[in-house]
């Protein structure tokens, strides 16, 4: 018998470690290689407005997120028609949506990923850059006329610059929105407003007055009891986010540690900004006056909904979907109760919306694809499907005369009565997504405001019309960190974030007086907020010097 000694184990473990390390290498490619020999099937002069059609039948592999509500089907009319129009077939690796990111990560890391890897949210792609398995797509955007056109026309270059790595390249082709799409606001009981003779609030201070009137009429209740308090953010994440935006702070769902201060020309620490303090002050006032339920920041969504349903509260966060599916259904049992989405109140920042979320999730391209002789055709194909007006309309609504009629330009667009989608035509026999494969989240997102508005109810259109009058706040300049820097700031970030979130809640609930703000800022400095900013600002300067 051969005894298994500790030395055997160590040797084996060591060998395994070496083998593992050898596999990793930093093989960042030299810029763009020539594209000669990679144009098979591509169109010669593909430009905006052209219908892409490969000159020979091609097949591209794609990672296909199979959505729970409309599981992927290889025989969707969408895919058949796509092949008919573009001469391209898709060879799909179907991945359940529940664990899409994990499988993507394994396949990309193992060098086994399909050519087209959609449904990636920035900054997820950063994890794959060092491995060298994905393509710096910014090198190839000149192959994509529709993408470049929209980027320029909609003034999205600054947003995309924020995706750049230290080398000045970006690795994700994001979905593009013409305008900011503000979906979230507050749902308010309009019957109570009418009963009390209140007018719709224009500003957050107006809203406070509305809540005060409600409190006067119903002293035993909290007029506003909120939802969406899932960690990691402090709680009341939508409310904090909306108020923060109005005051020029980034909080709740909108939290980001470093915020660009245009006046000073440098990044400042989000949780230590005076705007952040103003937001806290406002919310603290609402809580101490008994206008906002203190449980708003800790309770479950179901609890918040139950209070709203029972008429114990009159205002609650919502979006277009939860307004119709939840809030409106929840209050159905209260006689005469009506609810509507409130036009988002404004604050010191004026009639603006955050500009940073005009980019959607996007597509990564496998490095392998760039070696294919059909590479150029593939980029043209992606450009047409995801970025051309015709492609976007097709992937969203299907075929004119079959699944829809009219045009989006003149507002005559109408979904075919035999097809149901979301709240439209609920009794129709066929589903646009389930049965046809259109409006699939893998292919259809972003686009022009006109295209987006086709999916809204009239009520929502009115809300969006108001929102579209608002200006997008400028986005911060790029400040890409190196891998080491990122590692360093991540360490500081979690301690800082915990402290900010904890104290955000304590300040709002009045457990800590706002008089201690300066002490709190000192505490953040003690947790390296200054060093954190130094790194970010250094990265900003460095990038500016290198890439202008």
């Amino acid at each position: 018998m051969i005894p298994l000694t500790r030395r055997h184990l160590l040797t084996a473990a060591g060998a395994a470690a070496v083998a593992g390390l050898a596999g990793c290498g930093d093989d960042e490619p030299d810029a763009k290689e020539g594209l000669d020999g990679k144009r098979a099937g591509a169109m010669d002069a593909f430009k905006v407005g052209d219908q892409f059609k490969a000159t020979e039948p091609l097949t591209f592999s794609i990672m296909m997120l199979s959505n729970q509500t409309y599981p992927y089907k290889a025989d969707w009319p969408f895919l058949t028609e796509l092949t008919r129009r573009t001469n391209v077939s898709l060879e799909a690796t179907a991945v359940p949506g529940s664990d899409y990111n994990q499988k993507r990560s394994v396949m990309v890391s193992a060098g086994n990923a399909p050519f087209i890897i959609p449904k990636t949210y920035h900054p997820d792609e950063e994890a794959f850059i060092a491995g060298g398995a994905i393509l710096p797509v910014s090198d190839y955007v000149d192959l994509m006329p529709n993408y470049s056109d929209k980027l320029a026309r909609w003034n999205l270059q600054p947003n995309v610059d924020g995706f750049k790595a230290e080398n000045g390249k970006y690795y994700l082709l994001p979905g593009l929105h013409e305008n900011v799409w503000q979906d979230y606001s507050l749902a308010v009981r309009t019957d109570i407003m009418d009963k009390l003779g209140l007018t719709a609030p224009q500003t957050w201070d107006d809203l406070a007055n509305v809540l005060r009137e409600m409190k006067k009429a119903y002293p035993d209740r909290y007029p506003l009891s909120d939802r969406w308090s899932t960690p990691p953010q402090p709680g009341g994440n939508n409310l904090i986010n909306l108020v923060g935006t109005a005051y020029g702070a980034r909080a709740g769902w909108g939290w980001t540690p470093a915020v660009w201060d245009a006046a000073a020309g440098r990044f400042v620490y989000s949780g230590a900004m005076d705007q952040y303090r103003q937001m806290l002050e406002y919310l603290n006032k609402l809580v101490t006056e008994g206008l906002v339920d203190p449980e708003s920041f800790t309770q479950t969504d179901d609890n918040a909904r139950q209070k709203f349903a029972a008429g114990k509260s009159f205002v609650m966060s919502c979006n277009a979907q939860t307004l119709v599916n939840e809030a409106r259904k929840d209050i159905a049992k209260i006689p005469g109760a009506t609810v509507a989405k409130m036009i988002l109140p404004t604050g010191p920042m004026g009639a603006t919306l955050p500009g940073y979320n005009r980019l959607e999730n996007g597509i990564m391209i496998s490095k392998k694809a760039a070696e294919s002789k059909n590479f150029v055709a593939m980029m043209q194909f992606i450009d047409w499907v995801w970025y051309s007006d015709a492609g976007q309309l097709f992937s969203k609504w299907g075929i004119e005369g079959q699944t829809y009629s009219g045009s989006i330009e003149d507002g005559t667009f109408k979904l075919d009565p035999g097809v149901k989608w979301a709240g439209l035509n609920p009794d129709a026999p066929k589903g646009l997504q389930v049965d046809y494969g259109y409006s699939n989240g893998v292919f259809s997102y972003g686009g022009s405001t006109k295209l987006l508005s086709t999916q809204f109810s009239d009520e929502e259109k009115a809300f969006q019309a108001e929102m579209n009058k608002r200006k997008a706040q400028p986005v911060p300049p790029p400040a890409p960190l190196s891998a080491e820097e990122r590692e360093q700031v991540t360490l500081w970030d979690s301690a800082l974030k915990d402290h900010v979130f904890q104290n955000t809640l304590r300040f709002i609930l009045g457990q800590r007086p706002l008089g201690e703000w300066d002490a709190y800022v000192k505490e953040l400095e003690g947790k390296n907020s200054t060093k954190y900013l130094d790194i970010v600002n250094k990265a900003y300067e460095r990038y500016k010097k290198a890439h202008g």
Partner: protein
């Protein structure tokens, strides 16, 4: 007839009450899940469902069971489980039997190799690369082979074989039985308890497993049903990117977890009574030697 003292009768009564309590406590979550799976959305959200379905509703069952993919994946699970369990049983038995022979040369090394894998493994991506390179992806074997021998089960079985009196095998050898003859005709018939235990352990673990299927299968029609249901739950509870909104969607969101649990538990529950009598003795067998 043995006379029963009052003290003993009191003990029995207390015992019965206590055990009934335990039964109730263990049974309640299960009954509650079944009740929820048949209940309406409003009632579930309001927390009114305890032992009996309220607002009887079958929408979720209909939705899940009317999907052809569900049945395809259910069939896959059955096939994967049966094949994988059979192979795992054979391989584990062979390995364990060999290891139970004290006079085997290199036995320590063989045990060491097995035990090593309990504490160290290549990790997710190397495993994926290995299975891919072997060409096992999108086949049954990607699920079966990497999980064919569970070291824990192997050790249980080895201990069991070691506890069998070696005289039996010596007697068989004297009567002219070879190694395989002894294993098949003498040892295995005496090992029904441990075999039943292993059968159950393996079957349950393959039945419940979703990760291997998720990782190594690239086409939906190859997924086990666990992946299908997991995806359904995630979709119903996440609600993001969910434009299919209707009464049905809300109903499904409310009861999908319960329905899923019932649907996946059912077959294994049906098997359980038949092997349970082996099961109890099997787990404890081999636990105490001497």
């Amino acid at each position: 007839m043995v006379t029963v003292t009052r003290g003993y009768r009191a003990f029995q009564a207390v015992n019965a009450v206590a055990l009934a309590g335990v039964v109730l406590v263990t049974l309640f979550p299960f009954v509650n899940i079944v009740a929820r799976s048949f209940s309406g959305e409003q009632e579930i959200r309001a927390g009114q469902v305890t032992f009996w379905p309220k607002g009887f509703n079958l929408t979720t069952y209909e939705r899940v069971m009317s999907d052809a993919l569900f049945w395809t994946n259910y069939r896959n699970t059955v096939v994967y489980t049966v094949v994988a369990t059979a192979i795992a049983l054979v391989l584990t038995t062979c390995y364990a039997y060999v290891l139970s022979k004290k006079n085997l040369k290199g036995r320590g090394l063989l045990v060491g190799i097995a035990v090593f894998t309990m504490f160290f493994n290549g990790g997710l991506i190397p495993n994926y690369v290995l299975v891919s390179t072997l060409g096992l992806r999108n086949s049954l074997w990607a699920i079966v082979l990497p999980n064919a021998i569970s070291v824990f089960n192997l050790l249980v079985m080895k201990a069991f074989f070691e506890s069998l009196p070696s005289e039996l095998e010596e007697a068989a050898a004297v009567d002219g039985s070879g190694t395989y003859g002894t294993l098949l005709r003498i040892v295995l018939p005496l090992s029904k308890a441990v075999l039943a235990t292993m059968l159950l352990f393996y079957a349950v673990s393959f039945w419940n497993s979703w990760f291997a299927g998720f990782l190594y299968m690239d086409r939906q029609e190859l997924f086990p049903v666990t992946v299908y249901l997991r995806n359904l739950i995630a979709g119903a509870t996440a609600g993001t990117d969910n434009t299919a909104s209707s009464e049905a969607a809300l109903q499904i969101a409310a009861s999908i977890q319960a329905v899923t649990i019932v649907l996946t538990m059912l077959p294994i529950m049906l098997v359980y009574p038949f092997i349970q009598r082996f099961f109890v003795s099997g787990v404890t067998l081999g636990a105490v030697k001497g």
